[in-house]
């Protein structure tokens, strides 16, 4: 068998696998079983997977499932690497594979910390910054696994619940007829064709309130978890009110009352959608996907939480290093005290006040840099995937790998920089501290 013949077989194999994975699975096999792969719908907040999650009473978002997954991966790496390191005495230990990679990262980061902070503070700052680095790195890279942000529950395209009441059409979610049915006829792959036909049957139609209600009526399994959560909360609140007013109601009567409240709620929704006729005329086959996983850093809350941790702990380190004199960085009392001798000290005082704002703006810049880069990366991948499905997105994936790593590195690096600014006192000769002079001597 010649090499070219073998090449032909491999090519046929690749085409068969691609055909199976890109045509049969997403458009025929999965829609039949209630799972869907479709054009992704870009939403800023994470999509709810489990409404009114019993543990905290909040919705369980797909960014949280992904958070748990990344946690597990980080823990596994920690255990594996820790075991490998303890397998031999330190002087004869030769890191290999994963352990080697982690050592490389750790060494690289520690050198940066050492250069910026010196031995003592590098020991204090490095663990936090390195944990943040590893966590962001893994969450950014695991997000690029195919299917991570695309496979999920098929749900009715939802009217944007946060949109203003007067806005009848503009803020609906894009819906795609992925369930194999467009207005009662099988659609399959052709439903993604944008040419001709009924306007409502086209791909990427924005759902109105009426469409959402009709869809929920005809396909109860596809009710969006977020809508369900909002309804459950509203009904529960009303029921509490009723209980308070009439505490003597029996269980059966309560059930009845609950049913009444639910119907009232539904009637209100129908009224908002423009009455019964409007709902009847709605399109029941507009679906979107609520993915099971979504990159942790694409949820604004996560980078914000990290930024709060970093900014707060940097203050703690500053106080540890300089004592209460740390606050002179913001409210420059010494400069104010010497105003008689040095009137220009007033400028120092005002600069100190501006320093407070710059401290707070770190929260914003840390949060939005990470969130924006990763979220925009996801949007970029979507855009390229639908410009040209094969080959073309590959370089973009490499770009995303690079950006994911860089963003993790920048977050860690900024932690070092902020810490180094906090633990070193001002180099003013007027109020020199011991540390300040020591720094001068270096």
């Amino acid at each position: 068998m010649s090499a070219s013949l073998r090449g032909l077989l491999v090519l046929i194999g690749i085409i068969a696998v691609v055909g199976f994975a890109c045509v049969f699975l997403p458009f025929f096999a999965m829609p039949q079983s209630g799972l869907g792969v479709a054009l992704p719908v870009i939403t800023l907040p994470g999509e709810a997977i489990v409404p009114n999650w019993p543990v905290f009473g909040y919705d369980f978002l797909n960014t949280m499932t992904s958070l748990v997954l990344v946690d597990v991966i980080v823990l596994i790496i920690a255990v594996v690497v820790g075991r490998a390191m303890r397998s031999a005495p330190p002087d004869r230990f030769v890191p290999r594979g994963l352990t080697n990679f982690i050592e490389l990262l750790g060494e690289f980061l520690y050198n940066q910390a050492y250069n910026l902070l010196g031995a003592r503070w590098a020991r204090a700052v490095f663990p936090l910054a390195a944990s943040i680095f590893v966590f962001i790195l893994i969450s950014n890279w695991v997000k690029l696994v195919p299917g991570y942000e695309t496979v999920g529950l098929t749900v009715c395209a939802e009217y944007n619940v946060f949109a203003p009441e007067t806005d009848k059409l503009a803020s609906g979610q894009l819906g795609y007829p992925v369930n194999g049915l467009v207005d009662g006829k099988p659609a399959g792959v052709m439903s993604l064709n944008n040419s001709g036909g009924d306007l409502k049957a086209r791909a990427g139609v924005k759902a109105t309130r009426a469409d959402t209600l009709k869809c929920e009526e005809e396909h109860p399994w596809a009710k969006p978890p977020l809508a369900q959560a909002i309804e459950e909360r509203a009904v529960a609140a009303k029921l509490e009110e009723v209980k308070k007013k009439e505490p003597t109601l029996s269980g059966e009567e309560l059930e009845k009352k609950k049913h009444e409240i639910e119907e009232e709620y539904h009637a209100k929704l129908v009224e908002k959608a423009g009455g019964k006729e409007a709902v009847e005329a709605g399109n029941a086959n507009l679906f979107t996907i609520a993915p099971f996983f979504r990159g942790v850093t694409t949820d604004l809350n996560f980078p914000l939480a990290l930024a709060v941790i970093v900014v707060v702990i940097v203050q703690v380190w500053g106080i540890q290093a300089l004592g209460l004199a740390y606050f002179f960085k913001f409210i420059n009392l010494p400069a104010l005290g010497k105003l008689g001798k040095k009137p220009l000290g007033a400028i120092d005082f005002i600069v100190g006040l501006i320093e407070i704002i710059s401290e707070l703006s770190r929260l914003l810049s840390l949060t939005f840099r990470l969130f924006g880069a990763v979220f925009a990366g996801g949007v970029l991948l979507i855009v390229f995937s639908f410009l040209m499905a094969f080959i073309v997105p590959i370089p973009v994936y490499f770009l995303e790998l690079f950006i994911g790593g860089i963003q993790a590195y920048v977050f860690a690096m900024l932690t070092f920089i902020y810490a180094s600014q906090a633990v070193v006192s001002h180099h003013d000769d007027d109020h020199g501290h011991a540390e300040g002079h020591a720094e001068h001597a270096h």
């Binding site: 870009i42 800023l44 503009a170 810049s365 924006g372 925009a376 690096m413």
Partner: protein
């Protein structure tokens, strides 16, 4: 012009904020390449600092992009 059209227009206008960072990144790389040309031995440190500078500059473009994305999708 419909509300939807205005949204797209707003997103496009917000991306004007990418002008400055574009120029900035160009200047950054220009400086870094000149430095590497003069002292190729120091290319490692220069590259690291260049990428760091690029990331800070790029962040401003990302803010503009975020405004555009929020205008489009929220």
């Amino acid at each position: 012009m419909t509300d939807n059209g205005l949204k797209f227009l707003a997103a496009g206008l917000a991306m004007l904020g990418a002008f400055g960072p574009g120029i900035g990144i160009g200047m950054l790389v220009n400086g870094a390449l000149q430095a590497i040309g003069r002292n190729p031995d120091a290319s490692g440190i220069i590259q690291t600092n260049m990428i760091l500078g690029i990331v800070f500059t790029e962040a401003i473009a990302i803010y503009a992009l975020l405004v555009a994305l929020i205008a489009l999708f929220v």
